[in-house]
C-alpha cells in the first residue's frame, strides 16, 4: 500500500519535536501568513520555511511529486486571477503604473504583478511548512497531539480511526471497482460524464453499505471495552514536551503577534511600495 501521508523517518531536530508542538507551530504559522499581506514579512517567512526544510534533512527528491503539483496549482491560480481581474492590484494599491498592454482590458501593471507576487509568497511560505509537518510527524502520533492541544479525546480518536481505516477502505474500494469492471462497468474517459457518475455509484453503494456495517461492528467493540466512560485517556505514542518544543512554540506564537503588530502599525494589511 502506498504511503499516503509521506511520513519520512529521519533523525533531525524537527523530527525530535513532539507532534503537538509541531501542530501548534503549523497553526500559528498559517495564521501569521494568512492574516498578513506585508511583503517583507512574507519574504522572511518564505526564506525561513525553506531553511527549516533543510534543517529537517528532507531531500527535494522525497517531495518532488508534491512540489510539482504545488507549482502547477499556484500557476493556474494566478493565471485565473489575472484572467478574471487584471486591475485588482491597481484597485488594492490605489495607483496604476502601466508596464505594457496585451489586448482589451488586459494591461499589465506593476501593481498587479506586485499583488501576484504577494499571492505566490503567501502560498510559498505555508506550503513547505505543511509538507514539513506531514513528512516529519508520525500519523499515529497525530491524534495524541490533537488531544494534547486541547481537542476532546473523543474527536481525536475519530481522527485516529480515520487514519487507521483509510488503507482498509482504499483496498475495499479497489476490490469492488475490479469486481464491477469484470461485470462491464465503464469508468474510463471513454464513457460520458453522466455514465461515469452512474458507474461510480455502482461502486459506492456496496462500499458505503459495508462501511455502515463496519461502523456498527467497531462501535460495539469500543463500547464493550468501555470507551468514553472516563474524562481522560492516555496515548501510547504521546511524548513529553522538551525545551526545544517550548522554544519552537514560543517562536511561532511570536510570529503571529509580529504579523498582527505589523498590520496595526502599518494601518492596513498591505505593504504598499507605490506611495
Amino acid at each position: 500500500m502506498i504511503n499516503l501521508f509521506n511520513y519520512i523517518d529521519r533523525l533531525s531536530p524537527i523530527h525530535r519535536l513532539t507532534g503537538a508542538s509541531k501542530l501548534v507551530c503549523l497553526v500559528a504559522w498559517s495564521i501569521a501568513a494568512m492574516t498578513s499581506f506585508y511583503t517583507p514579512l512574507l519574504v522572511a517567512l518564505t526564506i525561513a520555511s525553506f531553511a527549516l526544510f533543510r534543517l529537517a534533512r528532507l531531500r527535494v527528491k522525497d517531495i518532488s511529486f508534491m512540489l510539482g503539483m504545488m507549482v502547477v496549482y499556484i500557476l493556474m491560480n494566478n493565471l485565473l486571477i489575472f484572467l478574471f481581474s487584471p486591475g485588482h492590484g491597481a484597485q488594492i494599491y490605489g495607483t496604476q503604473t502601466v508596464l505594457f498592454k496585451i489586448a482589451g482590458p488586459y494591461t499589465v501593471t506593476a501593481e498587479q504583478l506586485f499583488y501576484h507576487l504577494n499571492v505566490i509568497l503567501k502560498n510559498a511560505c505555508t506550503v513547505p511548512i505543511v509538507l514539513l509537518f506531514v513528512c516529519t510527524t508520525n500519523p499515529s502520533e497525530f491524534a495524541a497531539s490533537l488531544n494534547r492541544i486541547g481537542v476532546s479525546y473523543r474527536i481525536s480518536y475519530a481522527v485516529a480511526l480515520a487514519l487507521r481505516y483509510i488503507p482498509d477502505i482504499q483496498r475495499e474500494y479497489h476490490d469492488i471497482a475490479l469486481a464491477q469492471q469484470a461485470r462491464g462497468t465503464e469508468m474510463s474517459s471513454k464513457a460520458s460524464l453522466v455514465h461515469r457518475l452512474k458507474a461510480a455509484s455502482a461502486i459506492l453503494i456496496p462500499l458505503i453499505l459495508s462501511s455502515m456495517e463496519r461502523i456498527e461492528t467497531i462501535s460495539n467493540a469500543m463500547e464493550l471495552r468501555g470507551f468514553g466512560k472516563k474524562d481522560k485517556r492516555s496515548w501510547y505514542s504521546a511524548r513529553k514536551f522538551s525545551a526545544m518544543d517550548f522554544l519552537a512554540m514560543g517562536v511561532c506564537i511570536l510570529l503571529v503577534l509580529v504579523s498582527l503588530g505589523l498590520t496595526m502599525a502599518n494601518g492596513s494589511r498591505y505593504y504598499n511600495p507605490f506611495i
Binding site: 499516503l4 509521506n6 498559517s30 494568512m34 499581506f37 517531495i63 508534491m66 503539483m69 504545488m70 496549482y73 493556474m76 491560480n77 485565473l80 486571477i81 484572467l83 478574471f84 481581474s85 485588482h88 488594492i92 499571492v119 503567501k122 502560498n123 505555508t126 506550503v127 505543511v130 506531514v134 476532546s152 473523543r154 474527536i155 480518536y157 475519530a158 481522527v159 480511526l161 480515520a162 487514519l163 481505516y165 483509510i166 477502505i169 482504499q170 474500494y173 460524464l193 461515469r196 457518475l197 452512474k198 461510480a200 455509484s201 459506492l204 453503494i205 458505503i208 453499505l209 462501511s211 455502515m212 461502523i215 456498527e216 467497531i218 462501535s219 469500543m222 470507551f227 468514553g228 494589511r269
Partner: protein, 182 residues
Amino acid sequence: MKKFSVKSIVAIGIGAALFFVLGRFVAIPSPVPNTNISVQYGLLAFLAVVYGPVVGGLVGLIGHALIDFSYGWGIWWSWVIASAVFGVLAGFATKALKLEEGEIGKTGLIKFNLIQVVSHLICWGVVAPVLDILIYNEPLDKLFAQGLVAGVSNAVTTAIVGSLLCVAYAATKVKAGSLTKE
C-alpha cells in the same frame, strides 16, 4: 461539552476515511482549474442525513483537511470550513427524513435534494468565497466563478449519488409497522 455517543465517534472516523478515499482517488477534473467534480459530497450529504449535523460537520472538516494534508499543497482553510458547513447544514435534513424507519419515497427525495442544493449554494456561493476574500483577498468574480462551478457540480453529484445512497440505505432497513398481527 455534550458527550458524543461511541457510534457517532466511529461514524466520524469511518466517514472521514471514506470522504478521503473518494475525494482523493475518484476525482473527475472539471473545466475550471483547481476545482474537481467530487463524488464525496454525495457521501457527506448521506452521512449527515443518517447521523445528524455534528457528525456531518466533523466528517467534512476532518476528511477535507486530510485530503489537503495528503496533497501537501497547504490547507485551504476556507474550503475546508465550507465542507464542514455543508455537513452541518445537510444534517438538518435528518429530522425531515425517516431513513432509519426504512422510508424515503418521492417526497423524501425531493426534501433531501432541496436541502442539499440550498446547502451547496450557501457553502460554495457564500461561505467559501467570503473566507477566501478575508484570507487571500482574491478578485471577487474569480472566486464566485470557482464557487459557482464547485457548487453546481457538487449539487449535481450529490443529487445523483446522495439520492441513490439514501434509497439503497432505506431499503436495507426494516420498515416501521411492517409486522402484522395474525
